[in-house]
Amino acid sequence: MSITYLEAIREAQARLLRHDDRVFIYGQDVGGTFGGAFKATKGLAKEFPKRVLNTPISEDAIVGTAIGAAMQGMRPIVEMQFADFSSIALNQILNNAGTHYWRTGVPVPITVRLPCGGTKGSGPFHSQTMESLYAHYPGLIVMTPATVEDAYTMLIEAVTIDDPVVYCEHKYLYYHLKADKLPDKGLPIGRARIAREGRDLTIVSYSAMTQESLAAAEELAREGFELEVIDLRTVKPLDTDAVLASVARTGRLLCVGESFPWGGTTAEVIARVTNQGFHLLDAAPQRLNAKDTPIPYHPNLWSAHRPNAKSIVAKARALLRE
């Protein structure tokens, strides 16, 4: 049996619907026979009638409604068609959901699924990654699964925990990643994973960039370099200890993210390592992000815009020479 990253997300939702009556799915075209823009909910409306609900085209209203349901004890899963469009619901997610427990003591256990990241030819409004934006605000948990297994177990955990969760699923991984079977249990939320052990340089990444970083590590292994690849899994909370432990082993740090370069998760990781682990660094920590421009349509430009195995190899090689 072979399961894709997308199928793992669908399976997780099916399992949640099956085992928890409080769970319902709420989003544009998720119900009926359509099953969502990327078919992440395909077939679920038939198996779980009245629990996979189509919404109007208003992200603001969708999240607002989900927050209300969550306050009343439900466990809604909201699907955004594209992460890019969640900006319309920022007020609901950041100001309402993010602050509600702190203001009132009443938790808001919503899960907002964001199909993130680039695929060829998707252009500026259908390619963005938003995790750094949501991670900036208090009160939210931000998940960025990089494997089929994590896509499955982390979504289940997202719905189980009481805090509002922004679950960033990567569109490029939907069909590219496959696993033999789905696990019952994953690592705890907030714990990073060593995706590859090494001794010469630490790459900290998450989501699709973990896969690119692993490919880069494979390439550099042929030159005799052993790169350690840390998959953050959740960018918030951030597993600083795991990163510091890895940098203690290697002395060199490269952070790779698909988001825009200004601020963000990679900058946060470097800030923490320089604050707490300055004495561990044998070279200035580096980061690699997308370019600071809107995301281009053209496949060639898109390939040059975001980090990939090739550009990670080049950056890592330069850092190894320092």
Binding site: G251, F278, H279, L280, L281, D282, A283, R321, E322
Partner: protein, 406 residues
């Protein structure tokens, strides 16, 4: 016709630059393959730069007496197409951000960049292209936070790292270099240095961060040796030197001033130390107000201090605060040396061993035997120059040759 650049070659391991000392050809001259055309001087030897191929010298882009990095373009040869093509094939690939390499055309048939000699100091690349040895070693002094932390843990200083070959940018020592060096030490015999050894090592290392210089002259010991017979207790020659230095400095205390920041700091008291060999190190007891203490009293005080030193009862404050130190290295039989002043002092007076030498006596019109020693003055060149140091040393010699005044 295509032009082939004449490149400053890699002249030996660890050679990064060379100075033009002779240009044997001029533009328009016909040259053969591998002909020596320019002499360059490195810190090791004078060597010849040869033509890359036969042809006509198109131009020379460097100047006599100027220094250029390895890989710099020195000029161009107008070559035939075959040679140009052959050279192009072997030309190192162009690399961005490296000024030295910019001047090496990738293809000899391309129009060459405007010729301009690259002078040392104008570069900011860290490696001459394609060369195994860095042309610039500015990175070599950089120590990463991790290397610093490890050094602090092991109580190492930068001087300890001097012998470690770095593999990082600009040959800087990376943590791996340090760890493998430490690993290799394990194979050798090592024992913990004594406290006094570590103290001397630290003082000398700190002192060596300054521009130190030494001058020397000869002094006639006979008057002193004669004078010594008439005194009780009998002072050692080192004490004569100490007393002479004290009197000379009393006349001109500015000579011992210390340069600090942008100030000259001068002590109010002529306190002078004398170096005494101890087990596995040196102790420097200080005699306070040496200009106001007679040679007889100096001798008594010195004996007391030596006795304390032998009993290891000499306290740190008895060894600090001096403005200069005397080292009588003559007691080891040495004629000459360049002792290092203490880190908080500007001056160190050294006295060599006395030797019988023939001295021309004008009045008798013959050589007569004389006991002569070399006397040296090491100084911090930030504080005092050769002239000032020489005048001080001359005055010391004058006083030593008239020991009754001491």
């Amino acid at each position: 016709m295509p032009q082939v650049p004449i490149i400053m070659p890699q002249l030996g391991e660890s050679i990064a630059e060379a100075t033009i000392v002779d240009i044997k050809i001029k533009p328009g001259d016909e040259v053969v393959d591998d002909q020596e055309i320019i002499d360059v001087e490195t810190n090791k030897a004078v060597m010849g730069v040869t033509t890359p191929c036969k042809g006509k010298i198109e131009r020379i882009t460097v100047q006599l007496t100027e220094t250029y990095p390895v890989g710099a373009v020195l000029g161009y040869v107008e070559a035939n197409e075959q040679d140009a093509a052959r050279f192009a094939k072997h030309a190192p690939p162009a690399s961005p951000q490296k000024e030295v390499a910019e001047e090496i055309p990738v293809r000899a048939d391309q129009e060459v960049a405007p010729a301009r000699g690259k002078k040392i100091g104008a570069r900011d690349g860290d490696r001459a292209d394609g060369l195994p040895v860095p042309a610039i070693t500015k990175g070599a002094t950089f120590m990463s936070p991790r290397v610093r932390a490890r050094m602090a843990e092991l109580q190492l200083t930068t001087a300890d790292l001097a012998g470690i070959m770095g593999t990082g940018t600009g040959n800087r020592v990376t943590i791996k270099d340090l760890e493998s060096f430490l690993h290799n030490i394990d194979d050798q015999t090592a024992h913990e240095a004594s406290k006094i050894r570590a103290g001397v090592a630290d003082a000398m290392r700190r002192s060596w961060t300054r521009p130190l210089s030494t001058i020397g002259s000869s002094v006639n010991l006979d008057p002193m040796l004669k004078d010594r017979q008439s005194r009780d207790p009998k002072p050692g020659l080192g004490l004569y030197a100490l007393r002479a230095l004290a009197l000379a400095l009393a006349e001109n205390p500015a000579a011992a001033a210390k340069f600090f920041g942008n100030r000259m700091v001068q002590s109010n008291s002529i306190d002078i130390g004398i170096a005494v060999e101890a087990e596995d190190g040196i102790m420097v007891p200080v005699i306070r107000g040496a200009d106001k203490t007679s040679l007889a009293d100096l001798t008594t005080k010195y004996k007391e201090l030596i006795e304390l030193a032998r009993q290891r009862r000499i306290s740190p404050d008895m060894q600090t605060g001096g403005i200069a130190t005397v080292s009588n290295f003559g007691i080891f039989g040495m004629e000459w040396g360049t002792p290092i002043p203490l880190p908080d002092q500007t001056l160190l007076l050294g006295l060599g061993v006395g030797k019988k030498v023939p001295s021309w006596e004008e009045t008798k019109n013959e050589f007569v035997p004389k006991t002569e020693a070399q006397i040296t003055l090491s100084f911090d060149h930030r504080s005092i120059d050769g002239g000032g140091a020489s005048r001080l040393l001359k005055r010391v010699i004058e006083l030593l040759e008239h020991p009754k005044e001491l």
